[in-house]
Amino acid sequence: MNIQKIRDEASRALGRKDVKYLIGYQKGSYGFRVSPAFFQTKEEVERLIFSPLCQVSLAPYLTLEEVVPLPGEEKQKASKVALLARGCDSRAINQILAEKGIPRDRLFIIGIPCEGVIDRRKIEARFPSVTEPAEVREENGKYIIAIGDQSHEVPKEELLADACKVCRYPNPLIYDKLTGDKVAPHQANYDDITSWEEKPLEERLQFWLDQFSRCIRCYACRNACPLCYSTVCILDRLDPQWVKRSNDTSENLMFHVSRAFHLAGRCVSCGECERACPMGIPLMKLNRKLEKDVNDLFSYEAGKDAESKSPMTTFHVEDREDFIL
């Protein structure tokens, strides 16, 4: 991963007449913080960064910023948004394109093959209370962490985000420019899902009721998800009201089951929901269960391309029905 090459691509993108701005990353306020950032001019590209600390996905901004109502007489301008996209981001983009969430000709995608990102909670647990600016780079399976003028080495596995440990699509599947060398994907690994299903029902239920009881219904998971972009979300609706405002276990269970179910065949396992959850609820478990089932049962994976039809609106005459009386 060559930051200069990325900055050059970004610069070239911003030089195009049809690109309005570029979405990327810049240093955050302190410590390991990194923040998504919008770059309007070539000059601003200097503050563009890209490192294993850039955990947040930029894909949600595509459906967030571009479709707000226009004030007064302002006409809709047809111009492109450029953004940096890794493997999971590109899958999210493909899925959004397949759902006509945004036209392809409004995007300029700079694809970057990804070797994984660091889970901020893990690195902050390892190096607590860091306020000086910190930088991280990857080298030979280790993270070289520079805090102030101190340097540390940590094995990659200790800090890598869980979603990245089983990532099968590190290389962007859609892009206008690709910068960086291809990365080898991991093997599919759903052992945690299968071993979970061997546990007795009561143990599973108790675990999830405990988890759901801790949910504070902040909706951070829904907001962080690149695929949750309904104009009106059923979990917000009052007409009809599927979940009440109160955050008791029953309402929270309905909330999370509904969200997971609505993502069936759409979730790209980017892990943003779990990253965003302030209560540390293992939301990816639910999504990955559905991801596994959709693949096993219907041979479908979300975000492989921008044309595929949803497995929830198609069928095979031979679909399994052994549970049907």
């Binding site: 809709q76 006509k100 009106v232 059923i234 609106t313």
Partner: protein, 658 residues
């Protein structure tokens, strides 16, 4: 919306409900439910006084939602909708609570049944509170019909509709109309000559001013809905100009290519420049492109210069696609015969003197390969064995049904053998003899008296011993196996759905029954309708039947198909789905989910932006609600079955009514 005032009416249904469900208790319970202002019970609500009771209450109490707790809505929903209409209330403000079929008739314990009825009623009232008046739209009907298939069923249907006064397009795949009936010799039980009774009707079709005949053509696409179908017809090239050919046949001797004659079941040869049979309608020749040297290799052209004056031969003719608009469609695509190679033990394909019933018809027919003489290897057969139920009533080959015609056509064929070969030994192996129709039993008796030996038993095997065919079977009445020698074995093959049934079903969005024939809308009450409004069935494509039943059904289908045409307008479904355009994000999941392609994306302006939203064609929409479930935003809903209404029922049914 003004104040909701619900009227609840509980029927005793004589004693059918009252004997198990405590109707008085249920009435008192009804008054405790939200917005119920009137609750009554009555002995027969569907009767005139019962209906009057409801009507008066609506008028006098300004009721605007009605719940009728009685039999199944599948029984009387139309009845009570009419009552609401007559009282000036929108008919869709009605909800029915099924406390008979789903309650009083299936539970013994009166207390439990009553409590369950309370639950059912509470759910219905909860939904009724949320019902909205609905509109039924009307669309104009194109006063034209399409008949697909030119066999006797298609011919009869086309003639009837044309006589009623509407234009009909009759599309037939083969170069001539007539179908299988044209191939038959004499028909049971009257022994009419099949071609003789058919050709006048074929002639009528050819001459009828209201029938536009398209032969050697296929329907390849159907879009639209009842009253407004847009049909694409593919006209295959004959390489002969239909308007010019006068069927003189002078070109035929110059054609050097011979091919098997399918009309004679490939038992004889014809030229690849041919007319299917002399009485073909239209009377026009055709060149088979799979055998013609010109179409295959650009050689020959010997026929071309022969037609000097009329210049009817056009070897450069191309396929044509034409589009027509029709109001209703009748499917009369007919049947195939069972392929007996699927029962190899019967020796078909192995021994040349094992033939099918249809091949027998051609051999026996005066227009057949032997001009009506029954000859096998040039000799008259002495021992003839018929085997019934070949490919029918047979789970092993996947056809459990009875093909209806085989017992009678076998008896007829046995009679024809007796007539042509008076001293023949004729044996028929049968499981049952089904002689159910008019004159059938009498004919069967007559055939038995002609010395035809009926032996009850399934045939195990047909095999050769030295140079004789042996039919081995079990004679169940004698209780022992028997062997009969045969010069000719005729397999009474049954009817099977045509090979292209699934393809046709796809084009027309029809369903197939378990036996793979086309599915009718209701087996008893709507035997010629299909689930697709405006599309009807006639003849064997719906299931095996003989000629009189086919003609009767074809006339029935013609009448049904003419109803929308003569009414000129058709009412559309009211419980359609609808979109909240303010919040739809145009993801098109609903478009994909819809079985009828009733939903499209359209562009609208919303808050200054141009966005795509879903748009439901309320005329095509049939109200299944599959799109509603597909919608992740909840902006797609179904009238009278929206999420709010169903969720209210779910909430109410959570209570324990024990």
């Amino acid at each position: 919306m003004g104040k909701i005032k619900v009227g609840v009416y509980i029927c005793h249904c004589g004693v059918n409900i009252k004997s198990t469900v405590d109707v008085d208790k249920l009435t008192r319970f009804a008054l405790t439910l939200p917005h119920v202002s009137v609750a009554k019970n009555y002995i027969y609500l569907c009767s005139d006084p019962g209906q009057e009771l409801i009507k008066k209450d609506i008028e006098e109490n300004s009721l605007n939602r009605i719940v009728v707790a009685s039999c199944s809505p599948r029984m009387h929903e139309p009845t009570f909708r009419k009552v609401l209409r007559s009282a000036g209330l929108n008919p869709y403000c009605l909800e029915m609570a099924n406390i008979r079929e789903h309650c009083s008739w299936v539970h013994k314990d009166a207390h439990k049944a009553t409590r369950k009825a309370e639950g059912i009623l509470a759910a219905s009232v909860a939904k009724a509170n949320l019902l909205e008046p609905l509109e039924e739209k009307e669309v104009d009907v194109t006063p034209t019909a399409l008949v697909i298939g030119g066999g006797i069923a298609g011919i009869q249907a086309a003639l009837d509709i044309a006589d009623i006064g509407f234009k009909v397009y009759l599309v037939e795949k083969e170069p001539s109309i007539g179908g299988h009936m044209m191939q038959l010799d004499k028909t049971f039980p009257t022994l009419d000559c099949s071609a003789c009774i058919l050709t006048p009707k074929m002639s009528d079709v050819g001459n009828h001013p209201n029938i536009e005949l398209h032969t050697y053509s296929e329907v390849v696409d159907v879009k639209g809905y009842i009253g407004n179908f847009k049909v694409t017809i593919k006209k295959k090239p004959r390489y002969i100009i239909e308007e010019k050919c006068n069927a003189c046949g002078l070109c035929v001797p110059y054609c050097p290519v011979e091919m098997p004659d399918p009309f004679n079941m490939n038992l004889s040869k014809m030229k690849c420049l041919y007319i299917p049979f002399p009485q073909a309608v239209p009377a026009c020749y055709v060149i088979d492109p799979k055998h013609c040297r010109y179409t295959l290799k650009r050689e020959c052209k010997q026929c071309d210069p022969v037609c000097k004056e009329l210049k009817a031969i056009d070897l450069k003719q191309k396929e044509q696609l034409i589009q027509v608009e029709v109001g209703t469609i009748i499917v009369a695509t007919g049947f195939d015969t069972f392929d007996p190679t699927l029962k190899p033990e019967l020796g078909y394909g192995l021994y040349p003197n094992v033939i099918t019933g249809l091949e027998f018809e051609r051999l026996s027919s005066a227009s057949g390969p032997n001009l009506g003489e029954l000859l096998i290897h040039g000799k008259k057969p002495k021992d003839v064995v018929f085997i019934q139920c070949v490919g029918s009533r047979d789970k092993a080959v996947g056809n459990e049904y009875c093909s209806r015609v085989c017992c009678m056509y076998t008896a007829k064929q046995a009679h024809l053998v007796r007539e042509k070969i008076p001293d023949a030994n004729i044996t028929i192996f049968y499981m049952d003899v089904r002689a159910f129709g008019k004159g059938f039993e009498e004919f069967y008796d007559r055939v038995k008296q002609e010395g035809v030996m009926y032996r009850r038993g399934n045939v195990a095997e047909v095999f050769k011993r030295k140079d004789r065919l042996i039919v081995r079977a079990e004679d169940t009445l004698m209780g022992q196996p028997i062997e009969v020698e045969a010069d000719l074995v005729v397999l009474a093959v049954g009817m099977v759905p045509r090979q292209d049934t699934a393809a046709v079903a796809q084009i027309l969005k029809l369903s197939q029954s378990a036996d793979r024939f086309f599915l009718e809308a209701h087996p008893k009450l709507r035997p010629v309708d299909t689930a697709s409004d405006g599309i009807f069935l006639a003849g064997c494509c719906q299931g095996p039947k003989d000629i009189p039943d086919t003609v009767a059904q074809a006339s029935g289908a013609a009448a049904r198909a003419s109803i929308p045409l003569s009414q000129g307008k058709v009412r559309t479904e009211a419980i359609v789905s609808y979109v909240d355009e303010r919040a739809c994000r145009g993801c098109a999941l609903c478009v994909e989910a819809c079985p009828y392609e009733a939903i499209e994306l359209k562009t609208i302006e919303r808050a200054g932006q141009l966005v795509q939203v879903a748009s439901v064609n309320e005329v095509i929409c049939k109200g299944c609600g599959t799109c509603v479930t597909a919608c992740l935003c909840g902006v797609m809903q179904q009238k009278s079955f929206n999420d709010e209404q169903l969720l209210s029922m779910i909430a109410v049914l959570g209570e324990r009514y024990e």
